[in-house]
Structure formats: C-alpha cells, structure tokens
C-alpha cells in the first residue's frame, strides 16, 4: 500500500484533561487516490493530516509512505493550509518560486516552471501582484500553484477552502478536481463539508470525535466529471448525511 497508517494514537492535554484525538486509527491509501477526511471538529482529521505530513508525531502506531516511516515534512509531500501561508513580501511569481529556490535550477528555468503553474491555476497576468492585493480565492490558487511547482507526489489539503465564500469555493473545487485528475497526484483533503467531500473524493473517510476515530469509509462511485445536481451525486451525499444521523426521518407529512 502507498500510504499506510497503522494503529495511530495520539492524545492532547486540554485544561488538565486528556483528550484522545486519534484512537487506534488505521487507514490505507493508494497512489493517485483522492481521499477526503470528513468529520466534525475534534474528530482528529487535521491531526491525522499533520501526522501524515510529518508536522506532528504519533504517540503510538506508525505512518509509512511508500514503505518509509514519516519523520519530517518533505517537499515531496506538500501541505496547502486554510490560511494560505503565502509570504506577503513576495509577489505571486516569487511566492510560486519559493519551493524551487532550494534546487539547483537556472533563473529562467525557475521562472518557466512557476509561470506554467500560475497559468494552470488561472492567475496569468497577476504575477507581479502581492498577495494582499488578491482575493482569498486567488491567494489559495497561488498557494496551490506553489505546491504543484515542486511536483510533489502527495498534496495534503487542510480545509483549504474553509475561509472562502460558497461560489468561490465551488469554483476552486471544480478546478482542484480537474487538476488532481490531470496531474495525477495523491490528494488527502480535510474538510467538514459533506458536499465538498462527496464532490471531490474517490473515498471519504468519515471520522467521529471523542475519541477521534474512523467511523466508516465510503467509496464514491462517481466518475471524473461530477455534477452537483445529478441524481448520483445527491444519492452519495444523502448516504453520508445518514452516517452522521443528520437526515430527518421522513415525517414531513406531519407538519402539512
């Protein structure tokens, strides 16, 4: 298996009390899969992502990627953060070039690679702009371009569209779906938005809190081209609503 999480456990101390954020979590992910970690706050989905990315350590259990234990972050596995993490003193082009600077590349080459991914995320013409001049959606596009530019094998996304308005969010979802299929990356995507998960994922890992654990894993049998209004999509979405016990039992006649 490409990514293997085995019996992962982790606790935090919150106000003197132990909170189990990950309780014996095991999960396998295949290369090229788009997996959404879905659940309410406190279910450990972000912690699991941070552990996979190498930012946090487990208390017990193991995380292996491509056979090797994860001990630290690596440019092979890029994380996209909710608040973008762009360097405000650099313009768009320089931000996208950031990850290329530790490589032995000619100046023109760096520029060419950066330009390619700026074009890919649809920001052509904004190269010289500074991040604070851009909208939230555009800033997240810059951060996606910066991530793709170093050609990582895996992209971790930690509620990347959580701070965006609904329309912008849907646009970015469309684009990330296209990019993930086109660039053939493995993507692990944390969200608490059920529709977002159903729209993007090959598999949805449904998580629960107290203690943080995996409740079930749902395969999404939708193709590469997804439609938010199609019957199939609504069916998948409903299934997940049911898992969270969020679907009202059909007593609607009662109120008529």
């Amino acid at each position: 298996m490409y990514i293997e999480v085995k019996n992962a456990s982790k606790r935090y101390k919150v106000g003197g009390k132990d909170v189990v954020v990950l309780d014996n979590v095991s999960l396998d992910i295949e290369k090229g899969e788009f997996v959404c970690l879905l659940g309410p706050s406190g279910c450990g989905k972000s912690t699991l992502l941070n552990v996979l990315a190498g930012f946090e350590k487990l208390e017990s259990g193991s995380v292996r990627i491509d056979g090797a234990e994860v001990v630290s972050p690596s440019p092979k596995r890029i994380t996209i953060f909710q608040n973008y993490g762009l360097l405000p003193w650099r313009n768009v082009l320089k931000n996208v070039e950031l990850g290329l600077e530790s490589r032995k590349l000619e100046k023109d080459q760096k520029r060419k690679i950066a330009q390619k991914y700026i074009d890919l995320v649809g920001l052509t013409g904004l190269e010289k702009q500074h991040p604070r001049r851009l909208s939230g959606g555009q800033q997240q596009r810059v951060s996606i371009a910066r991530g793709l530019a170093v050609q990582p094998e895996i992209i971790f996304m930690d509620e990347p569209f959580g701070a965006l308005d609904a329309i912008t969010r849907m646009k970015l979802q469309d684009d990330i779906l296209k990019i993930s299929r086109g660039e053939n990356k493995t993507i692990i995507f944390v969200t608490h938005d059920i529709e977002e998960a159903a729209f993007l994922a090959d598999r949805i890992v449904v998580m629960m809190a107290n203690p943080g654990r995996i409740k079930s894993i749902v395969k999404v049998p939708l193709g590469d081209h997804r439609d938010r209004t199609s019957e199939d999509f609504l069916y998948v979405r409903d299934k997940i609503f049911e898992l969270f016990n969020l679907k009202a039992d059909s007593y609607i006649e009662y109120y008529i």
Binding site: P73, S74, P75, T79, N83, L98, G99, S102
Partner: protein
C-alpha cells in the same frame, strides 16, 4: 495639492509662534541680552557660524560619529536579535542582564567610557551605540518570536533550511516590527549624541554648545540648539522615506 501644503502651513505657523513667544519673553525679561538673546541675535550668530565655517565643521563631525555609532548598533543588534530570537532558551538567560542594563542612561557610562577611550570620536560613538543598541535588540528578538508559525511550517515543508530560512523568511517576516525599533532608536541616539559630545569631545555640535557657554555666547548656544533640532527632524524624515520605500517593495501600504 492643498492637502500637501497644509502641513507646511502648520509648520510655518508653529515656528512663527515659537519665535513670537521668544521675542515677547526677550522684551519683557530683565536678563541681559548676552545671557538671553533675541531671535534676531541667534539668527545672526547662525549666519556668523555658517560664514566662518565652524557650523559645517561641527555638523560633519557629529554626523560622522552619529552614523558610525547608530548604523553599527543597528547592524549588531539586528544580527544578534535574529539569532537570540530563534533561541528562546538562551535568551531567557540573557534577557535579565539586558533588562538591567537597558534603563541605565547611556550618559551614566560617560566617565567610564572617557577613561577607557579618551577624548575624541570614540566616546560619542560608544554612547550612541549604547543608546541605539537595546531598543533595536529587544524589538528584533520579540519580532522574531512573533513571526507567524505558518511561515516556518511552509519553509519546513519546502525544505528551506538555515541560513536561507533567516534571510528569506524570518527577517522579512519580522521586518515591520524591527523597523519600529530602528526608528525609535534613531531619536534616542540623536539625543545622546549631544550628551556624548558635551563631555567626551573637542568638536561636534555638543561641544559647540559647551564652547559657547564657556565664551558666554548665548546667541551661538541657541543657534546650535536650533541646528540640532532641525537635523533631528531631517534624520527622522529621511528614515521615514527609506521605510516607505522598503514597505513598498514589501507589498504593503503603510
């Protein structure tokens, strides 16, 4: 245009008010004119100093000492601050000593400094260095501590290691707060230049004041004070302009 002119108008009115008050005091007071001269006399003294070349000579000497002391203090304090800011465990042992030294007026060191360095450029430079060093050091350390952790996470993710981490990420991220300290230190350093030259030098603007007192030339004394004030304002203005340019390159508005 009107907006740009109104501060100049305010300045002119403000200065005119000071001169007017000065003139009135001169008229009503019983002091001898040699002890409390009129604005006109001070202005004549200024022209005299300018014409015989002493003024420019003093300004040149003072500016040299100021720039050497101030710039070296900023450079050392920023570099040291960038290092200590990343080593909070080390800084917790250094901070108490810094806090002990910081409130001591740099002039208190004066006799000691004169004993060690003699009379000349050095005492003034050392005093300015001490005056500028602590505000810049402390603001740099705290600025580095306040750098948003996400920048460090991103750097780690993209494999940016030292020394690139410091000059590509930490320094620019901390720069706005460091600039605050650098600006604050400018005013303090300029104030202590005069103090340093009054005791430890035979030239410069501070010395010119002592010299004027010794010759009972209150007109020259006041003229020198005015020059010190004007240069202080100019230095502040120049630094403001430099800051503006840097922040522009930084992509910010203010």
């Amino acid at each position: 245009m009107i907006r740009k002119l109104s501060p100049i108008k305010n300045c002119v009115i403000s200065v005119a008010l000071v001169i007017l008050a000065w003139q009135i005091l001169f008229q009503v007071s019983d002091y001898e004119a040699a002890l409390f001269p009129s604005p006109k006399m001070a202005f004549d003294a200024l022209v005299e100093m300018f014409k015989n070349g002493t003024l420019l000579e003093h300004i040149k000497t003072s500016m040299y000492r100021f720039l050497v002391g101030y710039l070296s203090a900023v450079a050392v304090a920023v570099v040291l601050g960038l290092i200590l800011g990343r080593l909070p465990k080390v800084f917790q042992y250094i901070n108490p000593a810094v806090q002990l030294l910081r409130p001591i007026s740099p002039t208190a060191w004066m006799p000691f400094i004169v004993l060690l360095f003699g009379i000349g450029d050095m005492p003034a430079i050392v005093i300015i260095f001490i005056a500028a060093f602590f505000p810049v050091l402390l603001s740099t350390v705290s600025a580095v501590g306040n750098v948003d952790p996400i920048y460090l996470k991103v750097s780690q993710n993209y494999g940016i290691t030292q020394p690139a981490l410091t000059w590509k990420v930490i320094f620019p991220a901390a720069f706005p707060q460091i600039a605050n300290g650098i600006h604050l230190a400018l005013g303090t350093a300029w104030i202590f230049l005069v103090a340093g030259e009054m005791v430890g030098a035979q030239s410069g603007l501070g010395y010119a004041i002592i010299d004027a007192r010794n010759n009972i030339r209150a007109d020259i004394l006041l003229a020198t004070i005015l020059v010190i004030g004007v240069i202080g304002i100019l230095l502040d203005g120049i630094l403001r302009l430099i800051e503006k340019q840097i922040f522009k390159a930084w992509g910010g508005e203010n």
